[in-house]
Symmetry: C2
Subunit: 371 residues, 2 copies
């Protein structure tokens, strides 16, 4: 980890403290009209992403949210409300709010349902990019619940045998409570690789492995810039022979649970994150969709008993006989290790992100902290 960090630091010129970045990010959200509570929450989702090493979903996106607000596509003071519910389900209208605020609210509603009837399931429409899915699932773990979060997203992914982009990277996250062992947190795009990984290759001018992207004719490509040339990301599996029809099906399920259940835009109609792309004219719903779930552990089994078995599960999997020189990880390990490093050593940002944040600061007349 130390090694990773120093390599990374060599690439990145600027290391910021968590505290400075957090205060700055809150100020940005306040400046676009968010309430104090909303600004604090939205900043927490972004900073947590940077701490956990998911740089593509942290403050690197802050200018994107601001541009969506400038374009009138984000409502900084949304009236987030339940428009339909049953004892274990709800549909939430996000009122064009920041997904960073709408999604935690939806998870709270799911958890309240779970408190009463064992589980809660909330589909959300009229929202926006919600940050890292894992953040929302970890809210449930604090209450001895399993947390589940999904979202649809801007269409960048070609289904198996397609040249056209029809789905987003549509992540699925699941967090599961434990006793002494660290929380199990899986947080994954349903593509072979998330867009953030391609961005790293673009910056360092490296080839992408075959199976990550295809060109606009649908042929395998190693060019990390392929998306700008009409190419597409590939579903987990990469090609039919390696199971891409499964990645495609998973992405489709996320799309349907998030957007067809709630009345959001689905598939190729999902609104783009970048403000310079227009919204489709023939929209089939409102905004972007999410799907959140909370399952109370003791709705199935006494929580203590379950968590002891989770500890046993994790310890046994850590002891799996490894390939020479490797180690078997538990989902969530890399992010947790990164979080403990960055919480003390700071968050490295690359030059482009720093420049971007300085522009946001100037535009909104906020002071920008030095690295």
């Amino acid at each position: 980890m130390a090694n990773y960090f120093s390599n990374f630091a060599a690439l990145m010129e600027n290391i910021f403290t968590e505290r400075d970045l957090r205060i700055f990010t809150e100020k940005v959200f306040l400046a676009i009209g968010c309430s104090g509570d909303h600004a604090k929450l939205a900043a927490d989702v972004l900073i947590r992403s940077d701490l956990r090493g998911i740089d593509s979903h942290g403050v690197a996106r802050l200018s994107g949210y601001v541009r969506l607000w400038e374009a009138g596509r984000i409502n900084p003071a949304p009236d987030i409300r339940v428009i339909h519910d049953t004892p274990s389900t709800a549909v939430v209208d996000g009122d064009q709010g920041l997904g960073l605020v709408v999604a935690p609210k939806a998870m709270e509603i799911a958890m309240e349902k779970a408190e009463k009837v064992g589980t809660g399931w909330v589909s959300v429409k009229n929202s926006n990019h919600f940050g890292i899915a894992g953040y929302h699932t970890l809210m449930a773990v604090e209450k001895d619940m399993i947390g589940i979060a999904m979202t649809n997203a801007s269409p960048l992914v070609a289904p198996t045998f397609a040249v056209e982009r029809m789905l987003g990277t549509n992540p699925i996250a699941v967090a599961i409570p434990t006793d002494h062992e660290p929380t199990f947190v899986a947080d994954m795009a349903t593509t072979t690789a998330a867009n953030g990984k391609l961005e790293i290759l673009q910056r360092t001018d490296q080839d992408a492995p075959v199976g990550w992207v295809q060109n606009k004719e649908g042929q395998p490509s190693k060019d990390p810039h392929e998306l700008k040339k009409g190419g597409a990301l590939l579903p987990l599996g990469g090609d039919r022979e390696h199971g891409s029809h499964k990645g495609y099906a998973l992405g489709a399920i996320v799309d349907i649970f998030s957007a067809v259940f709630s009345g959001a835009n689905y598939g190729p109609w999902a609104p783009p994150f970048v403000s310079f792309l227009p919204l489709p004219d023939d929209r089939v719903g409102e905004g972007l969709g999410h799907f959140m779930g909370a399952m109370r552990i003791d709705a199935f089994r006494p929580a203590g008993e379950f968590k002891n078995h989770m500890d046993n599960w994790i310890r046994r999997f850590r002891k799996t006989a490894p390939v020479d020189g490797k180690k078997v990880l538990i989902p969530g390990d890399p992010e947790r290790e990164m979080e403990s490093v960055r919480a003390t050593e700071g968050i490295p940002l690359n030059d482009n992100v720093v420049k971007d944040l300085q522009e946001v600061a100037n535009k909104l007349r906020i002071s920008f902290p030095g690295p």
Copy 2:
């Protein structure tokens, strides 16, 4: 399809009618002590699998179930009961019954919960191999619900960076109701390829694509017989660079929902399907585990409205611009097309399966139908 079928028929000597195979299979289950209802249901699960073209999970497994019964590992007259529940959840003890019978019962309980509070979620212990996951999810679709089914299974899969087999092929199935379009049914192992696909390569002596299996040192292999030599199946993704940590995480989630929630055996402790392998001495639970979910469509949105949008989703995805000479499919298309062919033209079985069924017939003194 006709072409596929004739190629397939050339390989397979024997074509049986659905009716003959169904009657025979029912008689086998009756002969091992199942009630009339249970025998009918178990036979239906297996025959439906053969009809849908999932040959590895149909009557090809019948002798395996009989051997488990002979070994005292299947209780033909189980008392399947709820041992814990809340309004939206239940844990079911399968009493060592056939998974083919326990799983549909668990799905019924999930559907009853969904009828009352919007969704129902049932984790099952003390069960056995449940056939194709898709069968159980389709029960929910008939009631305007989304059906979800998962199961853990005999450990054959090495996590990312491991040489040891720790997880089963742990499938996930999701079926989603539609209006005029056919039902969306995703039914997938969380491995690159299911074991049944390897068996086809073994019979026809062909290489497996890289990414399906590894040898006992954890190196990539094309040998479809690798499992018998201490190798392992690989999680969806194939290797770390292509996202196998995501397939591993999905398989782990299925394992935990199915077995840690319910009190079944998880991970490497999952009981083997083949009766010649002993059960582990240090068991951590009872039998195999499943996880079933049912979500009432109108717990989220009026069912008619939802199904219209699903039709629109499917029609739009069918029209996706394809790679030259290809066609974009909807999950469930291949199985549905096969089902319509085999329902009229019959079910082809290979020589080994026929021999196996004849032995079962002799052992249990049942007449075996001619092809």
